[in-house]
C-alpha cells in the first residue's frame, strides 16, 4: 500500500544490512564508553589514589571504627539545640524575604518583555542572577561576616544574596510566559506602567512566584544550618563546636536536628505550595 509512496531507489533492507548497522552503532557506543571509562580511571588515579594518604586511613576496619564513633546521640545537648534551631529557621525566613525584595529589580530587568531598556538592563539583570548563583553560600557568608561582623545578620545577608539568582530567574521566566491579554486590557483602559504590573502581571505570576519562594525557603533552611560554620549563627556553630571538642555523638545529634528541621520545612512547604497553587 505504502510502497507506491516510498522513493523508488530505496532498496529493500536485508537482515544482513540491519545486523551490520546494529553492530556499527554498538561498536561506536562501545568505543565512546571505553573512552569515558579510561578518562574516569585516569582521574580516579590522579585525584583519589595518588592523592590520598592511604597509610593514615589504614585498613577498612579503621575506617569503620572511625565511622562508628559517630553512632550515638548526645541527649545532654538537646536544651542547647533549641535556641540555635530557632535561629537557623529565622535566618532562613529573613534571608528569603530579603532575597525576594532584592530580586524585584532583578526580575523586572531580567524579563525581556518588560525590561526598561533592553541592551543595558537585561544583561545587567542576568549578570546579577549569575553572580548570585555562582558563589557558594559559604563564600557569601564569609564575605558578609567580614563586612558586618559575626552573627545572624551576616547569615541573613548571605542567604538573601544567594537567593536572588533562583527566585529572580524563575520569576522572570514566569513573567515572560504571561498571557499578554490582561496587560493589553489594562493598557487599553489607560493604566500606567505601575498599574499594569499590579493588575496585569502580578496576579498572573503570583502563584508561581510564591511557590518558587517557598521552595527557595526550604533550600535556605538547609543552607542556613551550615552558615554557622563560618560564624554566621544558627545550628552550624553548634556543629562546629561539637566537632572541635571531638564530641562525635554531639555531631550526630546536631545533624539529626538539622534533618528534623529540614523535614519540618519540607512538610510545611508541601502544604504551603498546595495552598498557593
Amino acid at each position: 500500500m505504502n510502497k507506491a509512496l516510498a522513493p523508488p531507489t530505496a532498496a529493500k533492507p536485508t537482515v544482513d544490512d540491519i545486523i551490520r548497522s546494529q553492530r556499527r552503532t554498538r561498536y561506536a557506543r562501545g568505543a565512546f564508553f571505553t573512552l569515558l571509562l579510561i578518562m574516569v580511571v585516569w582521574s580516579v588515579k590522579v585525584t583519589v589514589i595518588d592523592d590520598t594518604d592511604w597509610a593514615r586511613i589504614g585498613s577498612l576496619a579503621n575506617v569503620l571504627k572511625a565511622t562508628n564513633r559517630f553512632i550515638g546521640i548526645d541527649f545532654s545537648l538537646f536544651p542547647t539545640l533549641i535556641g540555635p534551631a530557632i535561629e537557623t529557621l529565622m535566618i532562613a525566613c529573613l534571608g528569603t524575604l530579603l532575597g525576594v525584595i532584592l530580586c524585584i529589580p532583578a526580575a523586572w530587568f531580567g524579563a525581556h518583555n518588560i525590561t526598561p531598556y533592553k541592551p543595558i538592563t537585561y544583561p545587567l539583570a542576568r549578570l546579577m542572577m549569575t553572580l548570585s548563583r555562582s558563589i557558594h553560600e559559604i563564600v557569601w557568608a564569609l564575605f558578609f561576616v567580614a563586612a558586618v561582623g559575626l552573627g545572624p545578620l551576616a547569615g541573613v545577608l548571605a542567604l538573601a544574596v544567594r537567593s536572588i539568582g533562583f527566585i529572580a530567574k524563575m520569576t522572570a521566566e514566569a513573567i515572560e510566559d504571561i498571557d499578554p491579554g490582561p496587560v493589553d486590557a489594562i493598557r487599553a483602559t489607560g493604566g500606567n506602567d505601575f498599574q499594569v504590573v499590579i493588575y496585569g502581571i502580578l496576579p498572573q505570576v503570583l502563584p508561581q512566584v510564591l511557590s518558587v519562594v517557598v521552595f527557595e525557603w526550604e533550600i535556605n533552611i538547609r543552607r542556613s544550618a551550615i552558615l554557622g560554620l563560618v560564624g554566621a549563627g544558627g545550628l552550624g556553630l553548634v556543629f562546629f563546636r561539637q566537632m572541635n571538642t571531638f564530641n562525635y555523638h554531639g555531631v550526630t545529634t546536631v545533624i539529626l536536628a538539622i534533618l528534623l528541621l529540614i523535614l519540618l520545612g519540607e512538610v510545611f512547604s508541601y502544604f504551603a505550595r498546595k495552598a498557593v497553587i
Binding site: V40, S43, V44, V46, T47, V48, D51, T52, D53, R56, I57, V63, A66, T67, F70, I86, E87, M90, I91, C93, L94, L97, T130, L131, R133, S134, I135, H136, I138, V139, L142, F144, A146, A147, V148, G151, P152, L153, V156, R222, R223, A225, I226, L229, G233, F239, M243, Y248, V251, I255, I258, L259, I262, L263
Partner: protein
Amino acid sequence: MNRALDRQPATPQREWSRFKFPGSLIKYGIWLSILVFLAYTVKYLDIPLDRLLGMFGRLGSTLANRYYPPDIEYIMDLDYLEYVVETIQMAYLGALFGLLASIPLGWFGSYNMTPSRLYVFPIARLISMGCRSVHEMIWAILFVTIIGFGMLPGVLALTFFCTGFAAKLFAEEIEAIDMGPVDAMRASGANLFQIMLFGVFPQVRVAFTGIAIYTWDVAFRAATVVGFFGAGGMGWYLKRNILQIETERVAAILLSIIFLVLISEVLSAWARARVMKMK
C-alpha cells in the same frame, strides 16, 4: 439589605465589598501574623536595623579599599591552576558517581516503576532524602574526620550530595512518563529490567541528560568550597588567604571562581540546548 430587597424585589440593590466575612478575616490574619513573626524575628536575631544602611556603605568602602585591586598574578600561578584542575576533576567524579548511584535510586524511588511499593520505595526515598538534606559541607567535614584530608573526602562528599540531588529529580521524571509503552512491554511478557530499558529509558533519556548537566553545575559550585575544611580543591586556598587576611588574593580567587562557574554555565547551557534539540 433586607429592607432594600423588600422595596425593590425586581432589581435588588447589590452590595459588594472586597471584604468577605470569614475568608478575608483569615487572609488578613495570616498576613498580620507573618508580619508579627518577622518583626519578632528581627528582634530575636538582634539585627541592628538602624545601622544596616550604614553597613552597606562600609561594605562598599571595604570592597574598594581592601579587595581592590585583585591580585591576578596570584591566581595565574601554576600551583593554583593545578588546584583548579583538581577541583574540576573532583566535581566531575563526584557528579559521575552520584549520577551512577542515583539512576537505580531514582528507579526504586519512583512510585510507578519501583520493584516494590511497600519496601523498596520508602527505603529508596529515605536514602535520597537523607543524602540531599545533609549539606555538602557537612558531608565534607564528616568524610574529612573519617578518612583525613585530601580529594577523596571531597569526591565522596560530592558523590553523596549529587546522589540525593539527582535521585529525586530522576524519580520525578520517571513518575511523569507515559505508561502506554510500559503497558505494551508488560503485555509482551518483558521483565522489569527489560521494561526499564525499552519502555522507560527512551522516554526519560533526554530529561536525564538535562538533569545530569544540571547536577554537574551544582557539583562544580560545591567543589569550589568543599576544600574549605580540607577536602581538596581550591577551597583550601580560599580559606588560607581569608585566615591570613590577604584580601586582594581572596578577591582574585573569588573572581576566578566566578569566571569558572560562568564558563561552566555557558557550556552547560549550550549542551542543554543541544540535548533539547535532540529530542
